[in-house]
Symmetry: C2
Subunit: 432 residues, 2 copies
């Protein structure tokens, strides 16, 4: 394969052949193609797109660039869950013990956060001693022990994705549907759960700013999963405001515990139940059965007990008092009375990053104790001086006035209450 | 300047700001932007294009990335000539002594060949001892001594172009109008002749396959030159068949001498006179005066004498018997009677490269003795067994049967004579 000719074909809008896609992915890993050639091809894909077949082939080639765990061959019922990333979205940490307590094993490969949302891997890292698995044998052992395995993507899973993602990050080639789909799905397929639940976010706090963008992404993810023989359900969900009231690593673990204990933010709980019900329906339950089973698992304390078991099985201590705390807190209050019209999740996410709760660039240290607690929801009535949010400061020492101003600016307050917006916008996959 | 944001702007089809273009060109030279970032931006420019203003700014930034010779400040009448490259196009080697013998100084920066056309630098290299100038002081000294300087692009002229061109070559980003224009013009402007003659080729043997493509390129080249204060004339000329009867380095020097001696291929002579007449019109002559003066310079032997003087001034020996010769020749004959309908210049150019007369890739050795002599022109009547071309083999030992077959295939012979096609398609610049 001549890489210059291959790049030229995509530049001219022609479809790449299976052999060309395989050669390109192999060359990305073994260095046969230079970074400048990979970058040029990524930009050409960004601007020319890729056909459904090319996306499928690219995903499979990336999956095959490293280890394949094929977990479903040993644990057929195992389910995986993926979110495209939202502010205050700590669903995964609730989902795993909740499903496991209903008898459905869960395997998830968690990633580190970058930008205005936190990664599940960083949140788990706030739990003292918690060690995500990195090898297939350990994943199977954890599934056996506690019904869930939480893994970190090591060098051996989809190395082509690691290579290409690092290049995309510095060459402005992240926003490309085929590249996003192949990046997400290559890792899912390499882990090899036979069932998959997708949460595709739409809104100002998400990667997809509109419902139409989210739908296009969801359609492609579902198509690629189904073509690879995975049973899949996707929900397109609202991310116009933060999902939960808590941002930051330790904060989001506490928020997850609140829901497992039967309380917590209504929206966070609602979405977790909805996603878990989809997973139970893949395991054969009716929707009514599923909701009843999930509610009972929380009410009985079994879901919370399973959380503790999962944390211990991964070497961690589930005592919530051991989670890192803020060094100092600062509560921000509103300057006018009215109704909360909007809460800009992306803006709050970036404030949290500024407090140390996330990463501006890959490799940055995360402060697990830093974060934000939001005191109001969209639709709430507030007065002058009502507390809007509490900033939890860690080791970083930002300009306090500036972060307070930016926090207040994230809240839109108006005279009239906002129109209601549903949390779950639509559903894809299977018969749905 | 954040390079990821800069690339993203071009990816999204937005125009780059002057400061961004300057920063990008500077970063290309000093390494502040990685090759993968430059490659992604080049592909984005390839697919999104650039505005006239962006092209202008890019050209000027590339010009300013290295030395500026500003030759016109010392020699105001100096004229530069550029061809976009054609098969058998040895006009430059005739143009320089012809103009100089008419009292108009010529400065040209010659490039090495790549692909199916030979570079002037390689042809000059066939002359024993010939050394192109690389420094401004030497260029001015040669102009003073013999009225012409033939320079090679060194490290110090438009280094941003060297860097970007090397990247474009391996990332399939060569065919982009703004990138081609800025590459050509940055070097012209860095040398700094105040007058410029452009020969933009159109046809199967040229980079621009159609007249419309050639016209678009010529329009941009003229616009950028005029915006930079250069007096410019461009001819769009036919490159459907080889310009001269000779391909290969020593061969093309001999072909140039034939024209300077008053003979030579009609088309090669016709185009040289036309381009030289444009240059003389920039120097104030009428078209009729110019043609008379040029014809006289050849007839009197002054042009040929000036060739010898220019070669000597550049350290070379002008004795044509010292030019390299082929090791072996092989004449290819036609298999049918009829009229020569077409001669595929690109195909013959690649045959010549196969004989060692050119470079497949940058860095390949060129065999100065290898080449092709074409015995017929489009429109000629041929019989079965008429000699079509003689292959001049050098040190390379290609499959003789294969190269003979490919040579025969380059000649289209039909029952009827072809319709006449003009050599000069149109003229741009000034009042024209």
């Amino acid at each position: 394969v001549n890489f210059v000719e291959l790049i030229a074909r995509k530049r001219d809008g022609l479809a790449l052949e299976p052999g060309e896609i395989a050669a390109f992915v192999e060359a990305a890993v073994n260095g046969d193609a230079g970074d400048e050639q990979l970058a040029a091809l990524l930009m050409a894909i960004c601007l020319r797109g890729a056909s459904p077949r090319e996306t499928q082939l690219l995903t499979e080639a990336m999956r095959d660039s490293g280890e394949r765990w094929r977990l479903a061959e040993v644990v057929p019922a195992v389910v995986d869950k993926h979110s495209t990333g939202g502010v205050g979205d700590t669903v995964s940490i609730i989902f795993a013990p909740l499903m496991a307590s209903c008898g459905v094993p869960v395997a998830m490969m968690a990633g580190a956060g970058l930008g205005h949302t936190q990664g599940t891997l960083d949140k788990l890292d706030a739990i003292p001693g918690f060690t995500p698995v990195r090898e297939r044998a350990d994943a199977l052992a954890r599934l056996e022990e506690c019904g869930a395995c939480l893994a970190a993507q090591g060098e051996h899973i989809a190395p082509a994705d690691r290579k290409l993602y690092a290049l995309r990050d510095i060459t402005a080639t992240v926003p490309s549907l085929p590249l996003i789909v192949s990046s997400i799905m290559s890792k899912k397929l390499a882990v090899g759960a036979g069932r998959l639940i997708l949460d595709v976010k739409a809104g100002s706090g998400a990667f997809c700013k509109t419902g139409a963008e989210a739908r296009a992404l969801a359609v492609e993810l579902v198509r690629v999963a189904e073509s690879a023989g995975v049973a899949v359900r996707a929900l397109i969900t609202d991310m116009a405001e933060p999902l939960g009231a808590h941002l930051g690593c330790a904060n989001e673990v506490r928020a997850a515990l609140d829901v497992l204990d039967g309380g917590g933010s209504g929206r966070l709980r609602e979405l977790t139940i909805a996603l878990a019900a989809e997973a139970l329906s893949l395991a054969g339950r009716s929707v009514a059965q599923a909701r009843e089973e999930l509610t009972a698992a929380i009410a009985s304390g079994q879901a919370r007990a399973r959380f503790d078991a999962i944390v211990r099985a991964h070497g961690g201590d589930p005592d919530p008092d051991l989670l890192p705390r803020a060094r100092k807190t600062m509560t921000v209050t509103g300057g006018r009375a009215g109704f909360v019209q909007r809460i800009d999740g992306e803006a709050l996410g970036w404030v949290a990053v500024g407090l140390g709760a996330g990463r501006r660039r890959s490799g940055d240290q995360v402060d697990h104790g830093a974060g934000i607690t939001v005191h109001v929801q969209v639709g709430d009535r507030v007065e002058v001086g009502s507390p809007l949010a509490t900033l939890e400061l860690g080791t970083a020492t930002p300009d306090e006035r500036m972060v307070a101003d930016r926090t207040v600016a994230a809240f839109g307050i108006a005279d009239r209450p906002p129109t209601d917006r549903p949390l779950i916008l639509s559903r894809l996959g299977g018969s749905g």
